[in-house]
């Protein structure tokens, strides 16, 4: 039991990290809480399904194009909608939430519900890890998740755009003084955050199915992880994913599966009461000190 908890806890944690990292990155750079995150996740899965099954494209090409398409939609979301309400957090939330809901309802209208739509796994095989059976796709999720997080760290530390992202995140006005365009960075951050949501979708959806209903779940998990870890902190996302991921698996193993949903929501509640900035966030640091 212990070995399966350790292995499936890690898998669950990486799944949570993948769902949340895009939301966190976007907020960290542009300060936009993208409530269309879940809808973009579902859209990516549906786009990949259409490209693969309906248009007959190569599977990997279909996944790649779905990610690119959703990245462009994310960037357009900022360029054509959010830019008009920039700096008004409530309006930003309303805009992204409304667009996300409209997108999900549209997909639902066109039949994307139930368990009829699925993406095939990268490979149908079962591996034995210390005597615990794990399917190949879940192993791939862990590998892709770790590689993606490492790539993001390298990107934000060793590329011009990545460094500009961090500059904007640290001090927008100072960044502007050295010639960094905040709107361009915000557009790129929405595009990259959406691409990350899409990557999460094409990696995770083969584990189950594609349905409009899952968009809300993904958003709730992303928010739970980001609030616990700190909205703008990539390190916080990783730590919070591990905490919630293992807490969920432990609650399933020892208390009953119906407590697993409560764990994520409880994390939001407890964090907001005792440490509103989250474990690694600095958003309300001053208030907390006072």
């Amino acid at each position: 039991m212990l070995r399966s908890i350790l292995i499936y806890g890690l898998i669950n944690s990486i799944i949570l990290a993948l769902t949340a990292i895009g939301f966190s990155l976007t907020y960290g750079i542009s300060r936009v809480a993208n409530f269309a995150h879940g809808a973009l996740y579902v859209l990516a899965g549906f786009a990949a399904w259409v490209l693969f099954y309906r248009l007959g494209l190569n599977y990997y090409l279909a996944l790649f194009l779905a990610v690119v398409m959703v990245a462009l939609i994310g960037a357009a979301l900022y360029r054509f909608a959010l830019i008009r309400v920039r700096g008004m957090p409530i309006s930003e939330i309303i805009v992204t939430f409304a667009l996300g809901t409209a997108l999900l309802e549209l997909l639902r209208f066109f039949g994307l519900f139930g368990s009829n739509y699925g993406l095939p796994p990268l490979r149908r095989a079962t591996l034995q890890l210390s005597g615990v059976p794990v399917d190949f796709q879940r192993v791939a999720v862990v590998v892709i998740g770790v590689v993606l997080i490492a790539a993001l760290w390298l990107f934000t530390h060793y590329t011009k755009v990545g460094l500009a992202f961090r500059a904007i995140a640290q001090d927008e006005q100072a960044a502007m003084m050295v010639g960094i365009d905040p709107d361009r960075m915000a557009t790129l951050s929405l595009g990259l955050g959406s691409a990350l949501a899409a990557i999460a979708a094409v990696v995770l959806l083969p584990l189950g199915y594609i349905a409009a209903e899952s968009g809300t779940n993904i958003l709730v998990y992303a928010i739970a992880v980001c609030i616990l870890g700190g909205l703008e902190s990539p390190a916080g996302v990783i730590v919070a994913s591990l905490l919630i991921g293992y807490a969920q698996i432990l609650s399933v193993a020892y208390f009953g599966p119906h407590y697993q949903m409560i764990v994520a929501l409880l994390a939001i509640l407890v964090t907001l009461v005792f440490r509103p900035s989250g474990l690694f966030g600095r958003q309300k640091e001053l208030e907390e000190r006072v």
């Binding site: 399966s4 499936y8 399917d135 119906h258 949903m261």
Partner: protein, 406 residues
Amino acid sequence: MQTKSIGVVSWLVAFLALSVAASSGLAGMLLAVEEINAKGGVEVGGARRPLKLEVLDTRDLEPGVPLSEALLVVEKLVLERKADVLMGGPVRSEAAMAAMDLIAKYRKVSILTTGALTPAYHRRVAENYAKYKYLFRITSEAGQLAKEAIDLFESIRQANGFDRIFIMVQDVAHARAIAGLVGKGLEQKGWTVLGSEVYPTGALDYSTGLLKARDQKAQILFVWMDHPETAILVKQWSDLKIPVLPVAGISSAVEQPGAWASTGGAVAYWLACPANAGNAPSNATPLTMKFYKAYTDRWLVEPEGYGTSSSYTGVYVLADAIKRAGSVDADRLVAALEKTDTTGVYGRVRFDPKSHQVIPSYDPKEGAVSTWFQWQDRKRVVVFPKAIATGKIQIPPGLTPSKGKD
């Protein structure tokens, strides 16, 4: 020509959705309405009048069971769409129970044709007949399905010697009721119930429960979940090669004809119960395959699962009752429905006069017959009850029967 409206209370989606599968009950009902209207409609007082279907979506199967939305739809059908009769749902037991008072208040005849499996529904009708006499249910209920599950497991024990079971159900009223009834019933018959786990609607991972079942050497995995996430459980069972015979009750992810394709064949060996006969191919009555063929021709897919044949039959039963009552007046219609005695797609259809629950039986000549099938080589093969079975249960690899144990 004047038309009569039948309000369909609950469907997972409106008919305009591209996927007919999740709205299979509605598709069954539309087929029946089309067939009846093609013959001129329902005969009332010497004249024939067509049926008109108003469709609204209560969305009560979604996570969180949004009851207020479901109740709003019921009220909208009655007050705004002026429906004479309500059919279909609400689908989720919690929503159907909540809607009972509302329907009774407006004195509208309601025939549940899909979902709402809780035994509390017909019990409440029996306890307060004067108030709830307008409410009927033409499909099965959790108590009957639990009895059938126990009888099925007993037949599996006799054939294979299995007596160790692990239960996984969804956190909704009818599924919890089924888990309790089946677990208790099997323990009384000497079975070992290794565990009974309740999963929230929308749960995305079932590995811990599956590994528990494996470690405790379960021989049967009993699953009762109607949320689409069951597809994840099916795939995990297959990927993790858990050596148990998986038996799902009502489960859209298992019972639909597209399940083999959407799970990449992972659904092989799974049993499921789409409640009434006719939702999988069999010869329960002469009408069963006639309906099966008509549905397949009309919608280019086989009857998809739970609620399909009962929704189809429900319209015919209503048409027959309207004809005998000569009106859609609620009290006259109730009296006519109580006297219903006809043969439908899944056997003889009669309602219990006190609870208004359709009378079940293992013999289609005596009552409404359920169907339990197993996925065998891309096909849904009916394996229980014996009277309508078209094949025998196959045991998945890795699980060894011990015949003669009992």
